[in-house]
Symmetry: C2
Subunit: 463 residues, 2 copies
């Protein structure tokens, strides 16, 4: 009996070999498409089904690619040739919400926004907020240690994870962490598994911290600056003034011009969007208004044309500009969304390096940044010849420009990926950042969890 027959015999209907299903599993939101065809996709709805898949995979030495909603941006959950694609999207129950202990226990496939909708009824929230939150799963957020817009103030996903239930490569079940805020018994396997991108085990359940919904107003400032350098300096001035915004987003002039065109005059919220760079600052909590008024003074002193909104509708119009960026760029064609992080103080230099690469290569690279934490998303716009396939591979000249961009980020003390993960698309730069010693050590750690090398084998540490 081969692996496929065994899967079908043990698991029945949840095993699909429908060519459309298999084809869909080969890609993610990065647009990258894995070569070949997966063996099958298994849509688990129970933990014991996940265990069965891993036992069979171990027995037959078949690679397993775990997949949630498929919203990744690094090719890290794409069905490779001959692999079993293990979907945990159907493990989607919220098992417990405990307001007294400020925690929730959820299965891996629960959608982030759905969890937040349910939590909001109890005046609670789960702080990790990747831009994909409406469609991405909590398990995927944890597997990639997802970031988002609120991290400078509220932390990354890792800070919100208290414990995990994980199916190991051999199908056994591992519990890590605890229900308590503090706990130091043994190594922090919860943190090690967070961000491990499906290479160490399959996360099936998580105990996460939740917190009380912030009381008080939300105040939002939109500001336009002559140059991206001025906007970056202004964002640094906000931090230097000891203001702690929940959100601080920067849109560079190239991206802003596209957003202005996309939104039209009625979407401009009264700001001169046609030129310059845009900085959005949002404060929350009991001192939101005082902090925003202070920020307004700082931004104007830094040369910004700024407007402060305290009502929900006009605040929403300002946030809509940030949200319009990806739809606006999508109209230009295929886009490679990159994801470097640099120390906040080096952000202006990173923008300059990107502009320089763009000028030299002729590739448009509109860029947005989570300015509060120095995480930039340069968008490499791929100009296709008429008639080219929409999902054609990223051309070499784009990767060459991205390569320069990664090196610039590392030279500034930054990192290859702030929040999207290594996956397939960044594995070739991994060694440049972490070095041989760490790479070898990390490969050995993977071998402890996955001695046969069947878990997401083509990603992260693959040669």
């Amino acid at each position: 009996m081969n692996a496929l027959t065994r899967l079908q015999t043990e698991l029945g209907d949840i095993v699909s070999i429908d060519p459309l299903d298999l084809a869909a599993s080969r890609t993610d939101k990065s647009g990258w498409v894995a070569d070949g065809t997966p063996l099958a996709i298994v849509r688990a709805t129970e933990v014991d089904q996940v265990q069965a898949v891993l036992r069979i995979a171990t027995e037959f030495r078949v690679p397993v690619v775990t997949r949630g909603a498929g919203t990744g941006l690094s090719g890290g959950a794409c069905g490779t040739d001959g692999s079993i694609v293990l979907s945990v999207a159907g493990l989607n129950r919220i098992l417990e919400i405990n307001a007294d202990d400020e925690l929730a226990i959820v299965e891996a496939g629960v959608i982030n926004q759905h969890l937040n909708d349910v939590l909001a009824e109890k005046q609670l929230w789960f702080t990790p907020d990747p831009a994909s939150k409406a469609i991405s799963t909590v398990g995927g957020n944890i597997a990639t240690n997802a970031g988002g817009l609120l991290c400078a103030k509220y932390g990354v996903t890792r800070e919100a994870v208290l414990g995990l239930v994980v199916v190991l490569a051999d199908g056994s079940l591992l519990r890590t962490g605890h229900r308590t805020i503090k706990g130091v018994t043994g190594y922090d396997l919860t943190a090690l598994l967070t961000g491990s991108e499906g290479t160490l085990g399959v996360i099936v359940e998580a105990t996460v911290r939740v917190r009380a919904l912030t009381a008080g107003t939300v105040a939002t400032i939109g500001a336009v600056f002559e140059t991206v350098t001025a906007a970056a300096a202004a964002s640094a001035a906000v931090t230097a003034a000891r203001i702690r915004p929940a959100v601080m987003e920067l849109i560079d002039p190239i991206a802003l011009a596209h957003v202005a065109t996309y939104l039209g005059p009625e979407g401009s919220a009264g700001l001169p969007l046609g030129r310059g760079a845009f900085l959005l600052v949002q404060t929350d909590g009991p001192a939101a208004l005082a902090e925003a008024e202070h920020a307004l003074i700082v931004l104007r002193a830094a040369g910004g044309e700024a407007t402060l909104s305290t009502d929900a509708a006009s605040g929403e119009r300002l946030l809509a500009m940030r949200r319009a960026m990806h739809p606006a760029l999508k109209q230009l064609g295929q886009v490679l969304i990159e994801d470097v992080s640099v120390p906040r103080s080096r952000m202006a230099e990173m923008f300059a390096a990107i502009a320089d690469i763009s000028t030299r290569t002729g590739i448009p690279i509109p860029t947005v940044a989570h300015a509060g934490d120095g995480n930039l998303h340069p968008n490499f716009v791929i100009e296709r010849q008429p008639g080219a396939a929409a999902d054609a591979p990223v051309p070499d000249e784009i990767w060459a420009a991205a390569d320069e961009m990664f090196r610039a980020a590392l030279a500034l003390g930054g990192t290859l990926t702030g929040e999207h993960g290594v996956g397939v698309l960044k594995r070739r730069w991994l060694r440049d950042e972490i070095g041989d010693r760490s790479l070898n050590l990390q490969r050995q750690l993977k071998a402890v969890f996955d001695p046969l090398g069947i878990l997401n084998a083509g990603t992260m540490f693959a040669a």
Copy 2:
């Protein structure tokens, strides 16, 4: 040439075999004393000396116990028979403070309070605040993932560590993490090493997050309740009211009586300290006063006799009661300070379980709790026969009572150790909490870092 001669030849004066030095290295603040005599103590002041010690230890297969200030409470850094005690207390330089990026780079031996004193000049602070902060090192705080009074609001040490420089067992140097707030390139070795208690490598340098000193008032409430159950319920009511105190400390009636005697009438800050339980609530940040006024109403509604202080001096008098607890208990003789954590909602049950154990065994167990995060410190008072040695081992009947207490904490969904670590003193309960599968996995992870088993060999996973 043997290991000692080699150490002395290569490292000269920083190697001591003075019997007083060696004896002092065998104990920590838990009072536990390791058997036998260490081979030598090496007081490193440079990273290359640490590397040399590890190379020699590897070559001669000699165990190494890394030690900072020796303030641990679990026997986790005590010089064992035949080991090299590697003191990193002399690696005590602050290498960088960067206000723009809100980070500091420090060597492992820097004292937490010293770092905070230097940071305060720039209106910054390092949030991890173990009760030992005046005497404990940042490296030790990281090695134990230290907690403290502020964790419910400001997180544990792990959340403040961005990157590490670590000397591995073979003497090579590993760099982990980054200078950026976000970064997901590879596994989170920084988090894995945080709390690893010297068993995976020797932390010599850390890049830590710092933050702006909180603006606004600090407001402090002291409240006395009839029973510890009422005080625990009141602390839960504060959380339920969506107040986020920086500090929330609970002292049970037995401990409070000792504190009252120790401080005398002039230390009571006008509160009836002779009976009942004491709850301290401190708020900070821009809404400190409003939050404290709200908390005052909640505490009074919960039956507390409460007083609110907004001036520094009277707030300090309230905090002094908490600080007086350990000195007050020390007057009673030797004390075993325990450290369980339970989900906040189970705290009253944990107090009841401790009271029950105390009643049945006749052992006084005055208890204090970091009530905001459910971390209790039951203090087992050891009544010695007259003339008994002050550092005699903890008697079996005390450990038997502690054993019951650990089991009660685990049964409530808690953990053996919230912030002190496993060390030597809790290794026998480790398996009860994490189970065989996790224990075996963690032993294999240790073997990746330390294949010869020379790093802090008698602690944590030792059988």
